[in-house]
Assembly symmetry: C2
Homo-oligomer: 227 residues x 2
């Protein structure tokens, strides 16, 4: 059993660059026991305290916000293997902002805080991966806030693309996230995003070049922000 | 010189719970050299890459966003001792989102990534403090995004207070942040926030009890969200 649990833990992206031979004895000593959950069952409540790392080892979970009327607003789907709730466990207000419901049967592992810190400190590669995820999350949320100043989706896209041009120092840019994540960033459904990008291509403001985009007329994009 | 630098480093909140006797030999070995800066001078440009921990050891910095027109939008003041830029250094897009200008003469220390990871891993108390700051930042940004769904300031406040009631499981709540941070959360100037809270007190929706607030009529607060 322990052997299987440890090999599932090692599948998590958090350990993608870790040296397994050094990690295995640490995990063996911790004797971690995941909790199994069934499809359709509530696994954690909104407001539950998170104390330490949570790893989804198998199956998938729906992260949802329940409303007083009984309706449920789905926030995201978590699919194993992955980390759940990020560094929230270490925040002063360490409450889970969503409830978790099983979408498929699965296994969820909660690692107590003390052991989580030991695990994260055990190899610089693990800590770097974890802090990278934190940094990416903060970047994503900050960008989402910056985009609130624009009302239309095309302005949001223009602002975002100009930011990429500035960062990548080129008019030919690569999108650093999936279309799924990008629609979440803009707060729209995926088809709306595709349509809006399609319009920019039709107008000649944007050119698709394989996996990248080329912007022939930066000035045109800047003018869109002034409306 | 090194002795002075190390004692300034130990002043940083990041090391507030650290065992100094264990930290000092590690710092001595690292031979870190801070860079001094003068009042009024640009210390870092927007778009500069951040690679590792940045600690402001002395003085203060203004974090600003320059606009193409040459105007500068001030984002925040950083006062020593503090950490600059958080876990951004570890993100896939590790660009500084602001420029940094000296408000007073000071000392800024950049710790290379490898040494930063050694430092953070050296004691669970240090890692816990750092991850706590990351978690708090993520909570703050997420809450700010949730509040965008409300148009008026009083609705934002009502939503926020109801969230605190839920988390603290009591109608008597304590505000977990300063008025300064709270006005940033709501995206308003501090006097507007004080005025709006004052109105809620005048209406009888809110009662001040020393450092805490009591909400006599939760239903009234909930109704404010429905307008």
């Amino acid at each position: 059993m322990d052997y299987m649990v440890n090999s599932l833990i090692l599948e998590c992206p958090l350990f993608r660059n870790a040296r397994r031979d050094e990690l295995t004895p640490i995990l063996n000593q911790m004797q971690l026991q995941p909790r199994s959950f069934e499809k359709g069952r509530l696994v954690a409540l909104r407001g539950d305290r998170v104390e330490g790392l949570k790893l989804l080892l198998r199956g998938s979970l729906s992260a949802e916000i329940p409303s007083p009327s009984g309706k449920v607003l789905k926030v995201e789907t978590l699919t194993a293997p992955c980390t759940v709730a990020g560094p929230l466990a270490f925040a002063a207000e360490n409450y889970l902002p969503v409830q978790l419901t099983g979408l498929e049967d699965g296994l969820l592992l909660s690692i107590p805080e003390k052991q989580s810190l030991v695990l994260l400190s055990s190899q610089p590669e693990i800590l770097k991966a974890y802090l990278g995820d934190c940094g990416n999350k903060i970047n994503f949320l900050s960008e989402k806030i910056r985009l609130f100043q624009f009302h239309s989706l095309s302005q949001k896209i223009a602002h975002y693309l100009l930011g990429l041009v500035e960062k990548q120092k080129s008019s030919q840019i690569r999108l650093p996230m999936t279309m799924e994540t990008l629609s979440d960033l803009f707060g729209v459904a995926r088809p709306s995003l595709s349509r809006s990008l399609g319009n920019l291509v039709d107008q000649g403001t944007l050119e698709r070049r394989g996996k990248e985009f080329f912007i022939p007329d930066l000035e045109g994009l800047r003018e869109m922000l002034e409306d």
